[in-house]
Structure formats: C-alpha cells, structure tokens
C-alpha cells in the first residue's frame, strides 16, 4: 500500500524504532525564541549538557519585542530580562541569534522560510504552536513545549507517537475575493477546534495547489486551531520557485539532488488517510469569527448564531459564554459589528503578500474616525520590502500606524494590546478571551477584510467598500 506525505517524511526521520516505544525522530531544524527557551537552557546548564547541533538551531526575538522605539532600551523590565536571557543563553551556548534591530529579526515562523531554512521533507520544531506554518513546504513541523525544547537542544531528536493522517481536499477554485485565511477559518469551523486532534492534516486539491507559498503558510499556520499539531502541503513548482536563490536553499548539485528528493514527497495515489474532509471552494466567501475560539466563525454575510440552535450541550454553553464575553446578541448581523482596532500582522498574515493585499484595499482611503489600525510586518525584511514598495506610505496616508516587526498584538506580550472591552478585527490566529489584552474582544479576519473594516468601521469586505462607493456620488 502507498504512503501519505506525512508517513514518508516521518519514515525518513526515524532514528530508532522499538516495540512499545514511541519512534525517536531526528529534527532537521530547531527554531528558538525568548519565551519558551529560558527554562530549557537552564535544564542544559543544570545537567552540564551542550547543544548537540548548533548548525541546526537558530533563534530570534519576537514575542516581547516592542514595535515602536526599537532603538531605545525596552521599557518593560520583565520583557527586557527575558530578551537579555535569550541573548546570554545564545552567547553562552553558541546559538545563532537575530536580536531586535537585526535585519533578519522577526516572527520566528516568518524568518525561517524567508531565509530558505524551511524546506520540503524536513522536520521542524519550535516551542510555539504555530510551527505548523512550516508544513506549507511539505515537511513535518510542529509546536513543542519547553521540556521538548530542552530535549531537542540536547539530542536533536524527539520521541514521538506516530500521528494519524487526515486529508482535507479543497475542490475547485476559490471565488474572487476569497483568501487562504477565509478558507482555513471555514475549515476550522467545519471540523471544530478538536477535529484535528491526533492528526497531521494534509491540505490538497485544486484550490490548494493554486495558492502561493505565503497563502499556503497561512493555511498550515492555523492547523493547530483545529487541534492538529501539524498541517502540510505537498511541495511543487510553486515551492521550488519560492526557495530557489534564498540564502540557505541548496545550490548547484545539491539543488538538483534536493529537487529530485522533493518531487517524491507526495501522497501516493493508493495511500490511505485515517480521515478525509472535502470542501467545495465555490461555496466559500469571506469568513470571520464571532466567538472566543477559532472554530466559532461564520461567513461575513451571516448573523451571530443563536446558542439555542446547538444540539450539543457543551457547544451551546460555549456559545452562550462567548456571546456574553464578546458583547454580542444572537441574530445580530456580523456586518453590523463595529470595531475599535484593526491589526494586520502575525505569523498567520504578516508576510509581504498580506501587506500588499491590505494596502491594495486601503489605498486612497481613510481609516474610519475612532478606529486605530496597526500594521506590523512579520519580520524586519518584510518591513523593508514593504517600504521599498511604498506600502508604508499607503498605510500612513490612510491614517494607519506603521510599526516594526514582531508578534505584537497577536498576543499582546509587548505594549500593543487591546484595552478592556475594546473590539478588534485581527489578521492573527486566536480569538481567545483576553488574548489581545485583558477584556479585549477579537474577530479573526483576512488582511482584505481587515483593511475594509478599518475604512468602514464595522466588519466588512472589499466588496462592501465598492458598494459603499457606489452609494456615494462622485465628488461628494
């Protein structure tokens, strides 16, 4: 019988297999950041262990970093200590680090791919659940806890139980105006926040094949929000074209050998998945969340659901609590929801294509009165690229704030936070209670919806902007 893509990559990394034990997997790339690593380095020190493979390890600063005044000392003393701890640990153990201010600094899941370090068929781990992003290249990439970070630092391996596989096939083409973010939000709403538990998701089908590399990263990034540790997409010409010429991409004969291997990385026709989900792309439209977990979403054209409509008692209770927290009424149109803040950025939607898409919508328009819009590039390089294309000017002229790179308001570990009761349209990945600041209310959206929402002041798509233009006679 044939094997799935996940099984092929898994099998290629088994260091040791023994009856009654989890497989011991080799890890090709270990990404570090300041939040989940300090206790791991402490463990190494306590046991007198070195980092086994410094040449497969790289660190950057992202979660705590401010997005303003980055040339000044960090104001929050606790954040400062955490960043200094990473710098000290990297210096002591010899780990390559891209600190705040470095041209390669940024959100760890934006930095790996842009350096060409993330490649097909690799195992990639990081103490961050959105490591699933890197699966977009056709590797196995998953988030780990701090104990596992220490384990990988010390051994370059992880004992792992073999996951099940789920195929998510998206037939047909995405309609005009429907993005990768809408697609993944719709998938999560369909299978639920626990639907992917124990599985590696493989996204496939015509709509997925037509996506750019960056859009594929958006999809794989949010696999964890469906409960799956990893999501992956088979590599193809789009993948190879993205990688060729990047700083760490193979060169010369190595490139040819790599591409020959990468071309074998697809699920065999007779491979069997443990579960399959089929989505018809034509049925999709811009999608937003209304609740407090990423599965609580609906098409933008819909209304806030009535908790009473849920058969399952725990889902009903969750919807009731979500509406209470979000300050929403059942039956209210999603388009009628006003926001205070719009956030464009994060490892989900902080890459150059995302910034271009948002800029394209907002160009020549103004952010609505009373709305604050933050645009935070996923990495310093993305920021430089955006500046070279004049996108920063587009955002600033519209009245948005153009910031430096980092995780920023996705989780508000730095000063970029919502105030209690404030409501955001956010291109990030989690709408959990308090995620973007204590008492803050989050609606997850695509970059295009974020930009249109900023202009109109309520949840809206670019199509709504055009409709609003048509209602306003020219020159008025």
């Amino acid at each position: 019988m044939g094997r799935t893509l996940a099984e092929k990559v898994w099998d290629d990394h088994v260091v040791r297999r023994a009856e009654g034990e989890p497989d011991l997997l080799f890890i090709d790339l270990h990404l570090l950041h300041e939040v989940t690593s300090p206790q791991a380095f402490d463990g190494l020190r306590k046991n007198g262990r070195p980092v086994r493979r410094l040449d497969l390890t790289i660190a950057t600063e992202d979660h705590n970093t401010p997005t303003l005044d980055i040339d000044k000392p960090i104001a929050d003393p606790v954040s400062r200590v955490q960043l200094e701890t990473l710098r000290e640990n990297c210096a002591e153990f010899g780990v390559r680090l891209h600190p705040l201010g470095d041209v390669e600094q940024g959100v760890v899941h934006v930095v790996g791919p842009q350096l060409g370090l993330t490649q097909p068929g690799m195992t990639v781990v990081c103490g961050d659940s959105h490591t699933s992003t890197h699966g977009a290249f056709g590797g196995l990439a998953f988030g780990i806890g701090t104990s596992q970070v220490e384990h990988v630092l010390a051994t370059q391996t992880l004992p792992m139980a073999r996951p099940k596989t789920m195929a998510i096939t998206v037939n047909g083409e995405l309609p005009e105006g429907v993005t990768a973010k809408d697609l993944i939000l719709a998938i999560i709403a369909r299978i639920g926040t626990g639907g992917g538990q124990g599985y590696v998701l493989e996204y496939r089908g015509e709509a997925v094949e037509k996506l750019s590399m960056e859009a594929r990263m958006t999809i794989c990034n949010m696999s964890i929000e469906a409960g799956a540790r990893a999501g992956m997409i088979a590599p193809d010409e789009t993948t190879f074209a993205y990688l060729e010429g990047r700083p760490h991409a193979p060169k010369g004969e190595d490139w040819d050998a790599a591409v020959a291997y990468w071309k074998t990385l697809r699920s065999d026709d007779d491979a069997e998945f443990d579960a399959e989900v089929v989505i018809e792309a034509a049925e999709l439209s811009p999608f937003v969340t209304w609740g407090t977990n990423p599965g609580q979403g609906a098409p933008l054209s819909a209304s806030v659901p009535d908790p009473a409509s849920y058969d399952d008692a725990s889902e009903r209770l969750a919807a009731e609590k979500a509406l209470e927290y979000m300050g929403l009424e059942a039956g209210q149109e999603l388009r009628s929801i006003n926001v205070d803040t719009v956030f464009v950025g994060s490892c989900t939607n902080g890459r150059i294509e995302d910034l271009r898409a948002a800029a394209d919508v907002i160009k020549g328009r103004k952010v609505a009165d009373g709305v604050r819009m933050l645009v935070v590039p996923g990495s310093a390089r993305v920021g430089l690229q955006a500046v070279s294309e004049g996108l920063d000017v587009v955002f600033k002229e519209a009245g948005a704030e153009w910031r430096h790179a980092g995780c920023s308001m996705c989780l508000g570990m730095n000063p970029d936070q919502l105030a209690p009761g404030e409501r955001s349209a956010s291109t990030s990945n989690r709408n959990f209670e308090g995620r973007q600041g204590k008492g803050g209310r989050t609606h997850l959206v695509s970059p295009q919806v974020a930009a249109a929402t900023a202009v109109l002041g309520h949840l809206a798509s670019p199509a709504d902007l055009a409709a609003a233009d048509a209602r306003t006679p020219a020159g008025v």
Partner: protein, 197 residues
C-alpha cells in the same frame, strides 16, 4: 520529573469546554524565566470573579481538576502545566485534551486522565453536590475511583512507565546516542545548516 503512582484528593469541577492555555495562564505571565511562581496567574481572568469555582472556600486545597472537553487548546506554553502544578493540582481529568498540552503535562508529572464525558459528568455531579468528596487517580491500576464511580482509563505503557518511575526523557534518549550518530552520518548534504561549522 516527580513520579506519579496514585493520588487521592478533593476536586475542582470546571464546567467549561475549550479551556485554552491563554485562560490557564495569560501571556503576560510568560515573561518569567523560571518554572515556578505561576500559581497566581492560573485562570487569572476568571479568578477576578469571586463566584468562580476556584475561589470558593470549600475548594481550597483541592488537587484534582475535573474539566470540560478540549482542555489545553491553543499555545504550546508549558507554563500552563507549571501553573496548574504550582497551584497544587496533581492531576487533570477531561474527556479530551489538546495534544501539545497533554504531552507537556506527562513530561512534568501532571497526570492528564482521559475519561468518557459521561464519567466526567458523574464526577462533576458528585463533587458539586459534595465538595469534600475525594477522587482517587490510580496510575498503577489505570483507574479513577470516587464514591459510586469506578472507571478505568488508558495511557500508553511507555508514558505510564516513565511517570511511575519519574524518569527524565533526555537521559533515556541519550542511552541511544549511537543511533543518533549513525543517523546523522547518513543525512543528505543538501539539508540546510544555520551555521557553517
């Protein structure tokens, strides 16, 4: 890691599904660089409400958390496990745990027990009606026992053995160092390196 064999204690019934790790320990607590001192951050937002179950005087000293389905979703932060342990919890019972949280818990000796939702419902009813009711989680027998309730649970033999003996994963793996070296010797040259060494 501290070994886990059997534990008996009073319970906190937490009737919520999808308790994500941002609720268990909010992000601003993650700036600490130690594994301890997270107890005051546990369920910080909900604890501001005096009616929240953890604030009830009769729940003081409880060590068994009985939670709704999909406990521990979201972020990979191991701080969520440390916060539960720092607060005094020894074990968490739910019908479904998020994968990363589950892995983190078992590596720290916090036993996460998966039981059918019907049993969780029964444990909720029992411990809500009688806050002094005790629950025993017996890893040797793979069994949860409380007044009128006996339920067996599954845990793979390898995880169980490590928990019962309080074994550290890294030293187990390093016993197979020769296998790792052999694998490294045959990795293809096109695989990327972060440093030239």
């Amino acid at each position: 890691m501290e070994a886990f064999t059997t534990h008996t204690g009073r319970a906190v019934p937490l009737r919520r599904s999808n308790v994500d790790t941002d609720q268990i320990i909010p992000a601003h607590w993650l700036k600490k660089v130690t594994r301890d001192g997270f107890e005051d951050g546990l369920f910080e937002a909900w604890r501001k409400d005096p009616r929240f179950v953890l604030n009830r005087p009769e729940r003081e000293g409880a060590t068994v958390l009985v939670a709704g389905p999909d406990f521990g979703t979201g972020s990979s932060r191991e701080h969520a496990v440390w916060a539960l342990q720092n607060y005094g919890f020894k074990t968490v019972i739910s019908s479904r745990f998020a994968d990363i949280f589950r892995g983190n818990s078992l590596k720290n000796g916090l036993l996460t027990v998966v039981l059918d939702q019907k049993i969780v419902d029964a444990l909720w009813e029992l411990t809500e009606a009688d806050p002094t009711a005790e629950i025993t989680v017996d890893l040797e027998a793979r069994e949860v026992r409380a007044d009128g309730i006996t339920a067996s649970f599954e845990l793979d033999e390898n995880s169980r053995w490590r928990l019962l003996n309080g074994l550290d994963d890294i030293s187990i793996t390093l016993q197979n160092e020769a296998d790792i070296a052999a694998y490294e010797a045959k990795r293809p040259s096109f695989k990327p390196r972060t440093l030239t060494v």
